[in-house]
Symmetry: C2
Subunit: 731 residues, 2 copies
């Protein structure tokens, strides 16, 4: 029993904990169900599948080896940090003498828990996807469409429920254990999750696109063989890439958003508790999350295929709207019966609305039923240059509308809370974030469904399934592209809302550890603070450029290897079997190369900026990162999605169809868009949040540190030197 | 005699006015010299030239017809504005009863003067460039290299001196007439200049690229004939485009930067006069400008070719460094003898340093002697998709370093003025802007030289000059590409510095008209202000997307016309003469279409944002526009420049040279880069400043206006509606 809470509140909080376990149990039950299915599949299909499975495992293992030292180091650092940043007033009140030790274990333990959960979601989710592939392919081979759909969706739901369950479990557990002293541990939990998500996104993103570009450029473009042709040595690497990028990467990413929104909602809720003396501000987000998980369990359960109508999207949507309806009713009941307050409810529903609107917006800019993609398709008539140009324009205008939408939502939040202190507005924004991610279970299920259907299709093609079996798989796959696009939109939109509420936590947190330091706010009218804004805005461009280069370089390696195999093994003539393992190994190695440097930039840049420009400058730096990060992320995601679908539109027979000059131009557009939408764009979400969280965590130290003028001059000179030096080094 | 000033100061100020007239007289003298040259050229060459001349005039005339109503309307509005925003305290003190009328005429007259000067610089500069073309071609035909170089550079210098002279004349004149009441009129002067520059940049940018892409795609790619081949009907339109884009557009753009830096330096200087009681803060920027113009006259005069060494770049650089050296000594003398202060001097020299560093940075990222362009060239081996990707990465990383450089310069300024009030820091930034543009005379001369050499080469090719004459023209042309790239870098860098000091003027100005309103600064920690930042950041993306689309659409029109002519007139077989006039007319019409809508967005958006979010939110909006505008502008300019030179590198015989697969990929890169670097990127500079100036001008009204809650809700709904509506409209 928690002392400060009423009996009902205690029941509610522990009930939420129970729902978290229920979600995990549901995931476990689904897993048993999937594994119980014994797929009957040809030996050739099984061999391909084994290759995918081994490749995916190998990737995750080698990634873990690369990052474990860093994770360990950070754990120790966080443990030791209590001797620099002493426990908060609240911790001393809660734990008395033992406060220091408790907080030390809290910070380090929560970080480790966040990292582990993120890893688990990615890893288990991916494993289940791989197991699911085989069984979906098996069901299709038996021409059993309902089973194929059910298996694909349920294998995806496992990841969804892991995300829901572990995210809710971590947040609730930390809150129960640390109560008012929770913020410290919560930040550690969020940091662990986002850092791992950054690694999974960066590694997975590079892997999947290097393999994809490598397989396509040599296979489809140079040799003129179809996608997933078993003669292509990079085809297994390509399928592995779908799993490590779209499954493990996306799952870790959404888990991270899910986690960070609850972290900032709890931190801002604790500030309101402090302000108003009412505990309901922290109980509410937990209850909302609990209701969301519960309704996701119900909604996803009802997704199944009907034998007569082969309409996978209809079934998936039915599940989604069921969950949404249950949630809204649940929120209303809690608001009416417990909160006695309409504002927090309105913010939550605003979040669901935002998720739907962003979905619509993404659809408008990336679906070929609408003018943007059609304009790209038309521009293929004048070649690849105009195709690229119109895609860039579509991406740019989509990001404008997305940011206007978010600005409008914050504006509405301001109206809802007009007359209230800023702390309430920030809480409202955080609750909008919670609302947006209410149906994470469904979203992740829909998203993971994508690569499962894709891989099943690949297995079907490589194992030469009969035509009508392949047709079932193709139908499932086509829907997967739509669900993937929708989830990507929601992931990006929620990332900004989460980042804005983290930005709010930063201000709240600095105010708490050093009252008065940010009393005058973050004033970009101060030149020093403005410099922070400039530097922050540049960072997402730096990240994107590094990631695009990484994909180009890695793809280069794969291309050369595939060309070599085609030539030496005479693959086109079918003389020898290709060596699938080498492209897999090369992609794995390439994906790890950039991890550490990008991780170091994300973790160290806020600390350096904070030392140089102080906490106010660091605040502006965060704003710059959020602004240009959001603009670039949506630009790249939607531009890439639009090119992709312009190509699909032509492949369906429009504008002279496959093989025409128009199609060639569209393929160039798609190849340009791929690393933008699947590597650089998605990696910006966790990057924004790692930087935000590190800033909040480092703020207490930065407040106490102030560089002397000579040190400042030295640091400036180093900065200037770093800028100028590379330009004198001729290549 | 000005009362508040010492005898020496009076002499100095009127001396500066004298130098402005001297600059104009020098321009006039050069013009006479050029026109005195009687070119002997074949009839065919003369015909081509007449086509270029008529096309360029027609473009400017039709543009003027399109915008004159808007310019007239704004003049009347500014005149009437005194009845809404009364004259300042200073104006009442200076002019007593007549203050209202004087200020009304001041605001409207200064706006008209700014617009007229901008138009004059663009128009006369372009005319002289066209006259210069013919004579450079004539000199080359006589194999007279020294005359060809001298004529090309001197024709360019006319534009440079017009920029210098008119910019200095306007600022000084307004200052002499209005003294302490100058800010009002200065803002009008700046606004007139930037608005016209925006129109010239947008119109010229669309024109030049639509014609260029149209001519190249059909001529070079589809028909396989060389550039500037007289059988291509769009070739005259292409040459006209060089004049209206690179000459008139660039000249108006730099004139605008030149003007705006003096406007903000004078406004911030007046604030310091107010603060310290010393007039030297306003005299200094005028003196610095005067010295700069004087040294530009000397430096440009000494640029001439030597018969034995055909090294145009060496001669041009010699002129530049002569001017730089004279300037720095001059600044030092003024600082030591008059200011008795080292800080303002240091800021000015920092500006010259920044100009040189940004030049180096641009060179590093866009010259094929360095690794970025070489990496793009190498990526052509795997086709156009990888070429595009590596160009995007190069553009992105270049913008990171450019913004770091600017941040470092502001940081150094902070160190220089450490311990001083913010007003001094802002003044320092403004003086850095003044310093950067010290050598505008030389820069514009170098830049205008580019299209003159280019056009002369085109005339030579179309009139079938002998080989050795064409070789002279080719050498002059190659240098033109380098000088153009350097000036573009300086123009963009100075634009940001100018924008930052305008941002400073905004804060200073709001403080003056409504003391206390911005007393707490511009706090992005306030959600409402943060919304301003988000919306501001989106605007440059909106502009870019509209401009890229405009180029695509216009190019489409040209392509279809050129294809039609090739087919119907059997041009390839040389049966008929192409109709050069129609592509010219089509480009002219296409370039005007977007002018008004883009102008309206730039002028109205700050007013709307100000009404919605207040002056503080508008401040953050400006910061957002500056941040993402700078990031995008450099990204597009350098990405485009890098693709261009990667193509040139291959055309010089590397990587299998012209006609190879690598070359084709490089051509795609170049075609994508063209509208980025010559239309969208350059248009962002004046856009940023128009928005800034409108904000400063509108601030006094906004301070007095406050929307009621229902009006606010209504405005929010309109905003939301504007966002959502387009997405329900299926194509």
């Amino acid at each position: 029993m928690l002392a400060e809470f009423s009996f009902f509140e205690n029941i509610a909080i522990f009930g939420v904990l129970g729902i978290a376990f229920l979600g995990l149990a549901y995931a476990f039950w689904l897993r048993r169900q999937i594994l119980a299915e014994k797929p009957q599949i040809s030996e050739r299909g099984l061999l391909v599948w084994q290759g995918i499975k081994d490749g995916a495992e190998a990737y995750l293992n080698s990634q873990w080896q690369k990052i474990r030292l860093g994770v360990g180091l950070l754990t120790v650092l966080l443990f030791l940090s209590v001797w620099i940043v002493p426990p908060s007033q609240e911790a001393l009140m809660e734990f008395g003498d033992k406060a220091r030790l408790v907080v030390a274990f809290g910070r380090a333990g929560a970080f480790l828990m966040g990292a582990t959960f993120s890893l688990l979601v990615g890893r288990l989710g991916m494993r289940m996807a791989v197991e699911g592939n085989l069984r979906v392919a098996g069901a299709a081979q038996k021409l059993d469409y309902p089973s194929a759909l059910r298996l694909a969706y349920r294998a995806g739901t496992i990841t969804g429920m892991l995300t829901d369950g572990l995210g809710l479990l971590g947040g609730t557990l930390i809150f129960i254990l640390f109560r008012k002293a929770a913020p410290d541990a919560l930040l550690g939990f969020g940091f662990g999750g986002t850092l791992l998500a950054l690694f999974m996104r960066v590694g997975g993103g590079i892997y999947t696109k290097a393999a994809d570009v490598g397989a396509d450029l040599v296979g489809k473009v140079e040799k003129g063989i179809p996608e997933d042709d078993p003669r292509n040595p990079a085809v297994v690497a390509d399928l592995v890439g779908d799993n490590v990028g779209d499954c493990a990467g996306m799952a870790a990413d959404i888990f991270e958003s899910y986690e960070v929104t609850i972290v900032s909602a709890l931190i801002l809720g604790l500030a309101l508790w402090h302000l108003t003396g009412e505990v309901k501000w922290i109980v509410f987000p937990l209850l909302v999350r609990g209701i969301g998980v519960f309704s996701s369990i119900l909604g996803t359960y009802f997704v199944r295929g009907e034998k007569d109508k082969q309409n996978p999207m209809g079934a998936i949507n039915r599940g989604f709207y069921t969950s949404a309806l249950i949630s809204i009713f649940g929120f209303g009941a809690v608001a009416w019966g417990y909160m006695g307050e309409w504002r927090a409810f309105a913010s939550t529903v605003l979040g669901i609305l935002l998720a739907i609107l962003i979905g619509r917006l993404t659809e408008y800019f990336t679906d070929y039923r609408y003018s943007p993609v059609l304009s790209i398709a038309r521009s293929t008539k004048t070649g690849s240059a105009t195709t690229i140009l119109s895609g860039l324009a579509v991406g740019m205008s989509s990001t404008v509308w997305a940011i206007f939408l978010i600005a409008a939502i914050v504006g509405v939040t301001l109206l809802i809370y007009s007359g209230q202190p800023v702390a309430f507005v920030l809480y409202g924004v955080a609750m909008t974030g919670i609302g947006m991610l209410t149906l994470t279970g469904n979203n992740v299920a829909m998203d993971s469904y994508g690569p499962i259907a894709d891989n099943a299709g690949g297995i079907g093609e490589m194992a030469s399934f009969p035509q009508n079996a392949q047709r079932i798989l193709a139908k499932l796959d086509a829907v997967g592209n739509t669900t993937k696009a929708i989830t990507k939109g929601v992931a990006i939109g929620s990332a900004v809302i989460a980042a804005i509420s983290l930005f709010g936590s930063y201000i709240t947190d600095v105010e708490k550890v050093a009252p008065g330091v940010l009393a005058s706010g973050i004033r970009i009218s101060e030149p020093k603070v403005f410099v922070g804004l400039l530097i922050g805005g540049a960072l997402p461009f730096l990240f994107s450029s590094l990631l695009i280069n990484a994909v180009s370089r890695s793809a280069q390696t794969i291309i050369e290897e595939v060309r070599r195999q085609f030539k030496e093994l005479k693959l086109l003539e079918g003389k020898n079997k290709p060596d699938y393992a080498r492209p897999v190994a090369l992609s794995t190695a390439a994906a790890q190369k950039e991890l550490l440097s990008l991780g170091v930039i994300a973790v160290l840049s806020p600390v350096l900026v904070g030392l140089l420009l102080g906490v106010e400058g660091l605040g502006a730096f965060l704003a710059g990162v959020i602004l240009s990060g959001q603009l670039l992320a949506v630009f790249m995601a939607n531009g890439g999605g639009a090119w992709d679908n312009a190509k699909k539109y032509i492949e369906e027979g429009h504008l002279n169809g496959k093989g025409s000059e128009e199609h060639k131009a569209a393929v160039v557009g798609d190849t340009v868009g791929d690393p933008l939408k699947d590597t650089a764009g998605p990696a910006l979400n966790p990057m924004i949040k790692v930087i935000n969280l590190v800033s909040v965590i480092a703020a207490p130290v930065l407040v106490q540190t102030s560089l002397s003028l000579p040190a400042l001059i030295f640091a400036e000179l180093v900065l200037l030197g770093a800028v100028i030096l590379p330009f004198w080094k001729r290549s």
